[in-house]
Chain length 152, copies 2
Amino acid sequence: MTTKSHTETPGERHLRIGPFAELTGTTPRTIRYYEEIGLLAGGGEREQGKHRNYTQQDVDRIREIVRLKNLLGLSLEQLSQLLEAETARAALRKEYRATEDPAERRRILEQILPHIEQQLDLVRSRRAEIEQLESELLDKQQLVRQRLEELA
Amino acid sequence: MTTKSHTETPGERHLRIGPFAELTGTTPRTIRYYEEIGLLAGGGEREQGKHRNYTQQDVDRIREIVRLKNLLGLSLEQLSQLLEAETARAALRKEYRATEDPAERRRILEQILPHIEQQLDLVRSRRAEIEQLESELLDKQQLVRQRLEELA
DNA sequence: TTGCTCCTCACGTCACGTGAGGTGGC
DNA sequence: TTGCTCCTCACGTCACGTGAGGTGGC
């Protein structure tokens, strides 16, 4: 067994695009496309022609993108805006940890709340639509079952 | 006020593509495209160049397509298959109404059930995903709120 | 008859899929 | 060194959007 020349850190760029895509439920082409349109900073600086490398944080980020895209049916344009807010939030978190001042901390936390609210609104209205569809299907099912009973 | 030369029937082809698209939450282009790929029988027989006309039934059908597409994220290929089953079900309903034989009716009803089950499965797994996302967001929100309390 | 809506091409776009031909790195 | 994965074009595809130029029907 070979030994790594350095210890693993969570932000280490040890993932190549293949395994990275697999971990995020996408394909290498999708990852390159997201980089192309600016959704994803291309695995750090990289000389032309060299391989992309990703971190575990990148995995989390893309997983989140894919999830929102699939579940909410957002365009990459819309996702891009949502992610800008997400990035802004990450910056705020950093600020948060950097300060000890309670007033400052309160200001930061209060900025985060409306962003969560916004996502919750999207998710809730989707859930309402799904539940509506589900209940209609259940009604149909019930109707058919009832008729079957009547035939017995 | 002008009088129609005939009485309104539910299956009457009185809708032109514009209002039809609006009623279904789509665009004329989308409707033509669905016809092009065979998802929709093009508003009855029609001589080349003449206007398409649709019925209220068509409205219901396309609304259902759009809903399933948006909520479940299905491709038109997958929808096409789902709609074949739907069409088969419509045929079964007709058979159902045409017969009085209880054994025959039972057979028909039992064919319909698994189809509803299938759609329910799709819808339920979607709902589970949405609910998972929602609960994660609620957790985040709760965490931020708690920290705000601690600062007070 | 005049407008408005509709018609049919046909090219554009978004979000990737799919090779082709070549290079990087364990 | 050999394979495998990665690289960059670049064209294809799905689900429409968007004109262009022309005709239908209240």
